[in-house]
Amino acid sequence: MKRFSQKHLLGIKDLTREDIELVFETADNFKAIINRPIKKVPSLRDVTIANIFFENSTRTRISFELAQKRLSADVINFSASSSSVSKGETLVDTVKNILSMKVDMVVMRHPAPGACLFLAKHINAQIINAGDGTHEHPTQALLDAYSIREKLGSVKGKKVVIVGDITHSRVALSNIFCLQKLGAEVMVCGPTTLIPKHIASLGVKIEHDLMKALQWCDVANMLRIQLERQEIKYFPSLREYSMLFGLNKEKLQKLNKEIVIMHPGPINRGVEITSDVADSKHSIILDQVENGVATRMAIMYLLAGSSPQ
């Protein structure tokens, strides 16, 4: 009998290929459910979930909350800016206080890499990482790979290029782990300053010429330039970045094939991707958002079901 191997979802690194496939198969069922008139199932009606966000988020937080509500879970939302964290309370204290209100699962986003692992060691609840600093963002990687599987039939053997700020991107790291586990080839592309020095040790190709990368790939995942994580300048100007690494219609038309365009959002229109490309038929950006709800429902369903009351 198949089952999910983990108690928490801290990173894609901990998952097996079977775990990822189980998430996808389960997400297929949830995708069917969220497209029918009654979009709700009662599975998690005895589960309480806290969404704790120490960093801003629109998509991820709404997607998680919607997924929880469609599974009939009880939800509490907490964001750091409006809480006692600003009065100096520590992470463990904050979360312990929330858990003493009988919470079963915590979805957390935090600026420090490893914050979710730290929490999992100190707290008796299931933890889902919704992004920890520049480390991992596992649910984004799962929904990205699920969207590729949906669009191209499978992930195995496909060539995916991740373009942009690889150094600061948790989406890039989780995507690399996830795609490789599923048998895809991965390339990273960006300015030298934004590609970590030892990234090749993960078995990914490195390319600094966007056109060459696009010629090679089946799928291009355009990352957002994270202006909030650039305390020093990594490239001369946004204009220069968008000329060299931004995706526009002219570059796409020069290719002699069709490729799939992805973006984890939020888009800086005109920087990493132009509006005509983002809104074109090659883009599956809005499918990614829809699939986000289905894959997050699958993850929470599998995690809750793997740990009896």
């Binding site: 089952r3 297929d28 069922n29 009662p42 599975s43 589960v47 369903y301 079901g305 740990s307 009896p308």
Partner: protein, 180 residues
């Protein structure tokens, strides 16, 4: 552990034919009726019945669907087994239809309770009936009874009733497995 056959191939076919005739007697040409099999094991029986009824009535447009109850079960997070879903396939509206739910074995009635919940999430049927191949009598946890029964058996709580199908690379047969 001992195993006893309670229905072998020849009787098996006769029983399924009889159930089809009973359904046709009640539902006629299935104008406003639909057949829904329960995933995963009830669908072997529901497909057989669906195909046989098409033959017997000569109608090819009878509504047929498959319902999965994984997300509606009342034992989620109560056992150690991970409950995984099967495919759901209902491409018609169940509202105001006469629905025949089909499963292989009726035991505690909990599956059927979940199925009723799952079904009403697709709409409000005019009427729901239950057809089972095996009714394990006197073992219900809920007030649920079948409208059409293939065979009724009396079993003890730790007995197992196993239905095997040619579609599943076995031969059509029903066993009762008794733990000694």
């Amino acid at each position: 552990m001992s195993s006893k056959v309670i229905l072998e191939k020849k009787q098996f076919d006769i029983t399924i034919d009889r159930l089809c005739i009973e359904l046709i007697e009640k539902h006629g040409t299935f104008q406003n009726s639909a057949i829904i099999g329960l995933q995963p094991r009830g669908t072997y029986l529901s497909k057989r019945i669906y195909n046989r009824i098409k033959q017997l009535t000569g109608k090819s447009n009878i509504l047929y669907g498959e319902l999965d109850i994984a997300f509606y079960r009342d034992d989620f997070r109560r056992g150690n087994e991970q409950i995984l879903p099967s495919a759901m396939d209902i491409n018609f509206t169940v509202a105001d239809k006469h629905i025949v739910l089909i499963d292989d074995v009726l035991y505690t009635g909990r599956t059927i309770r979940s199925a009723l919940d799952a079904l009403t999430d697709f709409g409000r049927p005019a009427k729901v009936e239950l057809l089972v191949l095996v009714d394990r009598r006197f073992s219900r946890h809920l007030p649920i009874q079948p409208d059409y029964t293939g065979i009724a058996v009396d079993t003890r709580a730790n007995d197992k009733v196993k239905v095997e199908w040619t579609e599943n690379n076995k031969q059509d047969v029903i066993h009762i497995i008794t733990q000694n």
